[in-house]
């Protein structure tokens, strides 16, 4: 089980913890992540808002590198995932874009590299049964609101990953870990996304709606798989409190961090100290698998 790993820019900064937890989980489950040498930015929101060719070329530059490695590409960031998938979709369906990309890259790219989210790899390649057997700790009924945001499952014709309206891949992982995944209605609501810094007011409003619903559904924490979702929901809780008086105090934890905890990986390696809202309540809930028998 070997993949070309594309960490994305956030893995060096805001989502360092997602990166380290992903790598640790992969190691623990026997997944070989070979980081793509010389990977570059996927282009993210600025590219796709300004220039269609740029938005396809930047991811394509990374895809070409993975193609040379002869491996599927694996991503942890939902935004990177979306950009890479979209680049494939563009060159496969729009010959003109493919031609422009060829000019930019100096070589043709045929859109054939398979782009996988790390969650996809866990569910499809490792499979739930194997994960379950590897677990050392259980979430012991912890109530988890799985939050997918916009980019992990949409647009469905491009991503082709999970149900775009009521996805359940994170939920399946949480259930396997012994947690209770909540059926709540805001799984795919927007958190404010890239407006994090430019329009904090919007982010506060949208993230507050998501967190209010998660709390109403009885969540002990929110599991995410996207650095943007994580930072908006986690970092802005303070602003939400200031604006609305609502103190959600909900840990926003990467799915790889939760899985890492259950696999017995240390809190340091999982970067738990990077979370703004302390995940202590989650950690305390962990129970050794044997004790549950």
């Amino acid at each position: 089980m070997k993949y070309a790993y594309y960490p994305g820019c956030a893995s060096d900064s805001t989502a360092r913890d997602q990166h380290t937890s992903c790598v640790a989980v992969a190691r623990s489950l026997g997944i070989d992540l070979a980081e793509i040498a010389g990977w570059i930015c996927c282009g993210t929101t600025p590219a796709h808002q300004t220039d269609r060719v740029l938005a396809a070329s930047l991811p394509a530059a990374n895809l070409v590198r993975a193609q040379k490695m002869g491996l599927d590409i694996v991503v942890t960031c939902a935004a990177c995932y979306s950009m890479l998938k979209m680049a494939n979709h563009e060159v496969l369906n729009h010959p003109k874009v493919r031609e422009h990309v060829r000019e930019v890259l100096g070589q043709d790219y045929d859109g054939s590299v398979r782009v996988r989210h790390f969650v996809e790899v866990l569910l499809e390649d490792v499979e739930i049964d194997r994960i379950r057997k590897a677990l050392k700790h259980s979430l012991n009924g912890l109530k988890v609101a799985c939050y997918y945001g916009c980019l992990l499952v949409r647009p469905p014709e491009v991503n082709q990953f999970d149900d775009p309206e009521n996805p359940n891949s994170l939920d399946r992982l949480v259930t396997a870990m012994g947690g209770e995944s909540l059926d709540w209605p805001h799984k795919v609501e927007c958190c404010g996304g890239a407006l994090s810094l430019t329009r904090t007011d919007v982010v506060v409003k949208l993230s507050d709606a998501v967190l209010t619903m998660a709390r109403a559904a009885g969540a002990d924490c929110v599991a995410v798989a996207c650095p943007m979702c994580q930072i908006n929901l986690d970092l802005r809780q303070r602003d939400i409190k200031k604006e609305t008086g609502r103190d959600h105090n909900l840990p926003i934890i990467y799915i790889t961090q939760l899985l890492g905890l259950c696999l017995g990986i240390s809190a340091e390696e999982l970067g738990l100290e990077k979370l703004m809202v302390s995940p202590e309540s989650v950690v305390k809930r962990l129970t050794r698998v044997e004790e549950l028998v």
Binding site: N166, P185, A216, A217, G218
Partner: protein, 1488 residues
């Protein structure tokens, strides 16, 4: 009936038609065909006809109860001698050519005999299995055996079966687990145990020790935990033992085999031997069991400790077997005391089931030390009381025996008990419950360790060394352990017990060395259990190696069957039980996603401290409460559980669980497809959360909710709980007009259906607040817009023009927040209690798949491919289509198409009409004129339906002596064939001349009894039915005495009335078999051609000098079909048809006569022509509306759509580079013309597209109110938008304004734009709509048929008789009915022809006997009857008195009720008859 089978003439066609689909379309087509001389096979996939219409609550805009209006049609179908209804049937293939098809039908079993069942419903009452009811779209439950719905036709239940549940297929003995669980649910414990014992005589035993593979297979396990099947089995068995012990029931009597019984010897009284013994004893064999030990049971007795299986339980079940006549011979060992050969000599067959007696050895050092014992020997020694025990014990093995050994050692006093096994904890073969018990009792289990050597000194064990086991199984999953020899650990122990398996005892075969064995010394047998020795069978562990109890039982079952077949010299292969167990297909297993979790019941266990000191049973049995709760967890995977409660309850023996499906081949001349549609699967629109949020339901679910016969009896509630739903949102276009889900078309009916639902809901609940979210309201049908306007004027129905983007369920209240954008683009979230999704019509999945198999071409959406000029014709000649499968449509259009398709089949098979129809002949009627009343009374028990409440014999006794009664009798089912024959017999024997039946209801059974009278030579009107079931026993179940008195009164009243019943005879009128069509437009021509092609002479009357009508001004359809050519060829065919006489420049002057015999006077210029005909079709058309609005007539640049079409066709239209503005609804949908002209939106789209095609840069604006491009026309609306046509909405209150001060300028205030729009127009095109012809009034007076307020003709019934007039023999089609498109007019014209053919195809018409008569002496000439009769039956005769034309009278009785002089009597419902009934009831000295 004619027989065509032997006729080889290829020109010969078959006068029969197959109609596929029993919805309203199929029913209508079948009735029209059967009533005009064709044999019809009506094929329906489900168990009852009725289709979607039977599921609706009310219809729009009439507000009729859908069931009430459809039911009579269904009943008529069922009663028609020439319609054969085949339910549960699918059309499998069509071979052959038009006129001569061979069709194959796959008919699934109903499991209820259609000829015997009388629908008493007893089976439904006793059935324990309630499943989600598809008819109610999952909102309620139904029994597995039930009628599809209350009014189902045929009126019969059906059983839903899917195969066999996983628990049953996984059980080695295939015990009907689901069945006995359902019986336990009903507290039928003895029946449950009996059902278990059919497959397993060791019920109480397996209830304790079975390894229950059934539970592993249990679907419930995917929800929370498997059903506790083993414990339920034990519960039922223990209940039986308890009842025996308390004397509630007794043990069955001892049997002895008959002296001449065949003899079978069984060696070994273990589970397999016991099973064979029971089965063969049951089959009458003399069975002797030879057992080496002093008691029966084998390993059950010596291998299983008392705390798990008490001996008294074992003894009990062995005693039951013994009582069947089985002889046991104990202390008799094979090979020593007896030989197989000797046994074979003395018996007809021998069964060897000796099991495995020896423990497997380890082959490690030290195994011979004293203190090393075999587990089986140890357990046996405990039973014998000879067991030895040490302080510390080490058990080797990980199976159930090992754990039993360990637990027993503990009980014998061992201080320290440890276990070691090669397997990991998960891999250990022992049951989870036993592993758990071991841990609880403090036993240490070393998993993944194997013995390296046993240590000892002086021949005595003192320890054991273990080595790490790295893997137990190899890649092929075979047992092949590998070890890490370097990782070891040591333990001190005084005793080592080996429990690692068992093997056969070689000493057993001392004298049977000639029985072949394999290398493990297991006996070799063939697949039926026969050894190489003739007549010697073997089974169980001695054949298979180590096995479970249930596997041994299964082996015994198979062997018993084989032995029986062997002795009776029958074939071993065919029809063996084990080959009949077809599992439920995985896709049909119940969905586990939405099943609420419920904990599995836990049986109490002895506390650890109590159990380790004794051998008392650890586990207790369930309490009754727990057991019953546990049965509720069963998901009924196979639907029917085959518990056979229905079989026991059915007094008529109508139920047969072994019924099989069949393939039926039929010869037919034509096929009509009316398969209907499915609802769009709402869960596909995930944003609305259907299936996820409990209070989001579909429109069909809402219909069921509104229905009084539905699961909520008409109450509008929240399915999630929480009472009434007051705030309801309706979301339109779910799965319609939506390219995202591939359904670009409009479903045509949902707007009106929703408006109706809101209006009806408003009546069901005070304070209802309904909000309808829509894109356009498409109220394009006759009288629809008026209905819409009425709804809009309601204060509590809100129309919001917006497509919601998402629904969010509020977690605590389960309320729903609907998110939508207002016209001003502001977002809003509004909260509702209930959301109804208006799911569209979607033929996908099942319908599409089935039809495409037949070689019928489908369109891109999966509907039947047709075109606008041939709307009813499929790609396969001779196969026609009607209804929603052709294009989404509502009921009247569906009914119209059905009749239209029938006319196509009639045209194809015209010469073979009346070749295959049956006509019943009856004996001559007995003349009873001079006879005194001689009344026969038959009182029905209706099984227990009447008899359980009403004392039937008392009723018979009380009425015997009533005046006129010469015979009275009760019967179990008066409607059964035998009872009906008896009635006929008694009529002859006693010369009865009046019959009274006291039974169920005349609604369903009167025709049957009347028929019986006719068969016996009595006039059918000499019958009277007293309703003592529906109106007596069913409503007074708690007052049997009073109910009996009431029944007696009812019967006495009927007897009284019967005395005055008189034979009635109708007239038989000769029919003039020619037709007359009024109007030479497209509809008139099509209708005339259809009649002419069917062979009827037809007159076509046209007012102008030219045929063609409005068609002459049309050039193409929206879909670009060439209308000009079509028109020309139509005119040519009409003019050249030998059966058609065309009267041009002719008008009607006078119409006289009635159905079958009209006399029509025509006037052509000065000429008068009289035409006689049997039926009249009105096809007078309509005309384009004129206008003076928007400068029409003042400016040359302002034209109508019709004029634009002409200019476009003649290529004289040019935009001149400017804008074209089209204005819709000019003079329509306003107070003067409240109706919608239906055509204009599509016409505007058609012309706009034409303009854009010629000049893509042209600017075309369409100002509209609602775009009503329904059905597939929606795709052209989309095309127009894609082509750049700009559609701008306006409100009725602020219409566009036009000025030509500086060229044409149109201004508009649109609700969708913040500011006024001003467009300089080169052309302004007005959609002016359709208005009725002004001479409709005169013609309607002449024909005595009504017009509506708009001036269009009014049909007999808006929904179900769309082309009939209330007056018989006159039919309607085309624009005279209402505005509609060419394809719709074609269908309607053909429909009118088909309906007319039901009259013209007969030579004579039987006029009903039950008609009104005027007493001329009493008549005061007030003419009230003329005013009130809906059918125009009364006339004023020469004496100025009223007289009723029998041919027109429908027997409704309105005139009789209204006549102020009481001059009118309705035959058979005469005042005198009712007075006699009342007198009898109220008579002084009433004996009851």
């Amino acid at each position: 009936m004619n027989n065509n089978n032997n006729n080889n003439n290829n020109n010969k066609k078959i006068g029969a038609v197959l109609v596929q689909g029993g919805g309203i379309a199929g029913v209508q087509a079948a009735l029209d065909l059967a009533n005009s001389g064709f044999k019809v096979y009506l094929i329906e996939r489900s168990a009852a006809i009725g289709g979607m219409m039977a599921q609706l609550d009310k219809t729009f805009p009439t507000g009729d109860c859908a069931t009430c209006i459809v039911s009579p049609k269904l009943v008529e179908c069922a009663r028609n001698l020439n319609i054969e209804i085949l339910t549960l049937s699918e059309l499998h293939s069509i071979e052959g050519e038009p006129g001569r098809f061979t069709v194959t039908i796959k008919k699934s079993p109903r499991y209820v005999d259609e000829k015997i069942c009388n629908a008493c419903g007893d089976c439904t009452v006793v059935c324990p299995v309630a499943i989600s009811d598809r008819f109610n779209r999952g909102l309620g439950t139904r029994k597995v055996i039930a009628k599809q719905y209350v009014q189902a036709v045929p009126n019969l239940p059906a059983i839903l079966k899917l195969g066999h549940a996983p628990c049953k297929t996984m059980c080695p003995a295939n015990i009907n687990v689901q069945g006995y669980i359902q019986l336990i649910k009903k507290k039928e414990y003895i029946k449950a145990v009996n059902l278990i014992r059919e497959r397993n005589p060791l019920s109480a035993i397996c209830g304790r020790v079975c390894t229950h593979p059934c539970e592993t297979a249990c679907t419930r396990g995917q929800v929370d935990a498997p059903v506790a099947i083993r414990q339920l089995k034990r519960f039922a068995s223990d209940k039986e033992m308890e009842m025996v012990a308390s004397g509630q029931i007794t043990l069955p009597a001892e049997k002895t085999p008959s002296p001449d019984a065949r003899k079978v010897a069984i060696v070994g009284a273990g589970p397999s031997g016991l099973t064979v013994a029971q089965d063969l004893a049951d089959r009458g064999y003399a069975v002797t069991v030879y057992e080496a030990r002093p008691a029966a049971g084998g390993m059950l007795r010596w291998g299983i400790p008392e705390y798990r299986l008490p001996e008294k339980v074992l003894d009990y079940e062995i005693e039951l077997i013994r009582r069947k006549g089985v002889t046991f011979v104990f202390n008799c060992q094979m090979g020593k005391d007896i030989s197989i050969d000797k046994l074979r000599e003395d018996h007809d067959a021998v069964f060897i089931g000796v099991g495995l007696q020896k423990g497997t050895i380890l082959n490690v050092k030290g195994e011979n030390f004293s203190g090393v014992v075999q587990g089986l020997d140890f357990l046996k020694a405990i039973k014998d009381g000879t067991a030895d025990i040490k302080d510390s014990v080490f058990v080797i093995g990980g199976g159930n025996v090992a754990i039993d050994v360990a637990l027993s050692a503990k009980r014998l006093g061992a201080q320290e008990v440890q276990m070691a096994c090669l397997e990991s904890w998960e891999e250990m073969p022992a049951n989870e419950e036993e592993k758990k018990q071991a841990l609880e009792e403090g036993i240490t289990i070393h998993t993944s360790w194997g013995p390296k050597r046993i240590k000892g000194s002086e021949g005595m064990v003192n320890g054991i060394e273990l080595k790490k086991c790295t893997a137990v199984f190899d890649d092929q999953k075979r047992f092949n352990p590998t070890y890490d020899e370097t990782t070891t650990k040591d333990f001190k122990t005084a005793m080592v017990i080996l429990a690692i398996g068992s093997r056969s005892d070689p000493s057993l075969f001392g004298t049977t060395a000639d029985l072949p064995v394999n290398q493990r010394r297991n006996i070799i047998v063939d697949q039926y259990g026969l050894t190489e020795k003739d007549g010697v069978f073997a089974g169980g562990e001695i054949v298979t190696g180590p096995a479970t109890v249930i596997e041994a039982v299964a082996a015994g079952k198979r062997a018993a069957e084989s032995i029986d077949r062997y002795v009776r010299k029958e074939d071993q292969r065919t029809a063996r039980f084990e080959n009949t167990i077809a599992p439920v297909a995985e896709e049909f297993l119940p969905s586990t996603a939405e099943v609420a979790k419920r904990p599995r019941a836990q049986a109490p266990e002895l506390p650890v401290e109590q159990r380790i000191n004794s051998f008392a049973e650890i586990e207790a049995t369930f309490s009754e409460e727990d057991a019953l709760a546990e049965t509720e967890r069963c998901l009924n995977c196979a639907l029917c559980s085959e518990c056979r409660e229905c079989v026991a309850a059915c007094e008529k023996n109508a139920i047969n669980h072994a019924m099989e499906g069949q393939m039926i081949e039929l010869e037919v001349g034509s096929v009509i497809l009316t398969p209907g549609f499915e609802e769009f699967p709402a869960a596909k629109k995930g944003e609305f959360g259907f299936g996820r949020y409990g209070n989001v339901i579909t429109n069909v679910q809402f219909e069921r909710m509104l229905s009084a016969a539905g699961p909520f009896e008409g109450h509008i509630v929240r399915p999630s709980g929480g009472g009434e739903a007051k705030r309801i949102a309706f979301i339109q276009c779910v799965g319609s007009r939506d390219s995202n889900c591939g359904n670009d078309y409009c479903s045509s009916v949902c707007c009106m259906a929703t408006i109706k639902q809101a209006m009806v809901a408003r009546e069901h609940m005070e304070g209802l607040d309904a909000t309808i979210f829509y894109m356009d309201i498409r109220a394009h049908g006759k009288d629809f817009d008026q209905y819409y306007e009425r709804a809009r004027s309601e204060t509590n129905i809100h129309f919001v023009r917006s497509m919601p983007s998402r629904i969010v369920q509020v977690p605590d209240t389960k309320n729903l927040r609907v998110r939508f954008a207002h016209e001003n683009r502001e977002f809003e979230e509004r909260e509702f209690d209930l959301v109804v999704l208006a799911t569209g019509i979607d033929p996908k999945t099942s319908v599409t798949e089935r039809i495409s198999r037949l070689g019928i071409e489908l369109n891109g959406f999966g509907f039947c491919a047709t075109n606008r000029l041939l709307p009813l014709t499929t790609s396969r000649p001779g196969v026609f289509v009607a209804g929603a499968f052709q294009e989404p449509k509502d009921i009247p259009e569906t009914v119209t198409q059905a009749s239209g398709a029938a006319s196509l089949a009639m045209e194809l098979l015209a010469d073979f009409r009346n070749t295959l129809v049956a006509k019943k002949s009856y004996p001559d009627e007995r003349d009873i004129t001079d006879e005194e009343p001689r009344i026969g009374v038959f009182v029905c028990h209706c099984g227990i339906n009447i008899a359980s409440v009403v004392d039937v014999t008392q009723v018979v006794d009380s009425v015997k002596s009533q005046p006129g009664v010469v015979f009275a009798k009760d019967s179990m089912f008066t409607c059964s064939d035998t009872s009906l024959s008896e009635i006929k017999e008694k009529i002859r024997e006693y010369r009865l001349n009046r019959i009274v039946v006291a039974s169920c209801t005349p609604r369903t059974h009167e025709p049957l009894f009347r028929e019986t009278l006719r068969e016996a030579g009595l006039n059918p009107y000499l019958f009277e039915l007293a309703n003592i079931r529906d109106q007596c026993s069913w409503v007074h179940p708690l007052n049997p005495k009073e109910a009996t008195n009431k029944a007696i009164d009812l019967v006495r009243m009927s007897i009284a009335r019967a005395q005055s019943l008189a034979p009635l005879g109708g007239e038989s009128l000769e029919i003039n078999q020619s037709g007359l069509v009024i109007g030479g437009g497209m509809s008139g021509m099509t209708a005339a051609l259809s009649l002419a092609d069917q062979g009827f002479k037809t007159s076509l009357v046209e007012r102008t000098d030219r045929l063609g009508g409005n068609l002459l001004n049309l050039y193409s359809t929206l879909e670009k079909d060439d209308i000009s050519t079509f028109t020309a060829s139509l005119i040519q065919r009409v003019e050249n048809h030998p059966n058609i006489t065309v009267y041009r420049e002719t008008e009607l002057a006078r119409v006289a006569g009635h159905i079958g015999n009209f006399l029509v006077s025509l006037s052509r210029k000065e000429e008068k022509i009289d035409v006689a005909c049997g039926a009249v079709i009105v096809a007078t058309g309509a005309k384009p509306a004129e206008t003076s609005e928007f400068l029409y007539g003042k400016s040359k640049q302002v034209l109508t759509q019709v004029e634009l079409e002409k200019q476009l066709h003649e290529q004289t239209f040019s935009t001149g580079g400017g804008n074209v503005v089209m204005i819709q609804c000019v003079g329509s949908r306003n107070p003067e013309h409240p109706y919608c002209s239906r055509l204009c939106c599509s016409m505007a789209v058609k012309n706009a597209l034409s303009i854009k095609e010629k000049d893509p840069d042209a600017h075309v604006f369409v100002f509209y109110r609602d775009v009503r491009t329904y059905g597939f026309r929606e795709t052209y609306y989309k095309k127009a938008r894609e082509a750049g046509v700009i559609f701008i909405r306006y409100d009725q209150d602020s219409p566009p304004k036009i000025s030509d001060a500086n060229g044409l300028v149109v201004t508009l205030d649109s609700p969708d734009f913040p500011e006024s729009l001003e467009i300089e127009a080169d052309h302004v095109v007005l959609s002016t709509g359709v208005i009725p012809g002004e001479d409709n009034k005169a013609l309607s007076n002449m024909l005595k048929v009504p017009l509506n307020a708009d001036g269009f003709y009014v049909e007999a019934h808006l929904k179900l008789r769309p082309v009939d007039f209330a007056s018989e023999g006159i039919f309607l089609c085309g624009l005279a009915h209402s505005p509609k498109f060419v394809d719709e007019n074609i269908s309607q014209a053909r429909a009118a022809a088909a309906r007319a053919a039901t009259v013209l195809s007969k030579t004579h018409l039987d006029v009903g006997a039950q008609v009104s008569h005027v007493n001329q002496n009493k008549c005061i000439s007030c003419m009230t009857c003329l005013k009130v009769c809906p059918y125009g039956a009364p006339l004023v005769n020469r004496d100025q008195k009223a007289e009723i034309v029998g041919a027109k009278c429908m027997g409704c009785g309105i005139c009789a009720a209204e006549c102020p002089a009481c001059a009118i009597q309705l035959s058979h419902f005469e005042t005198g008859q009712f007075c006699m009934m009342l007198d009898t009831l109220l008579a002084v000295g009433n004996p009851s």
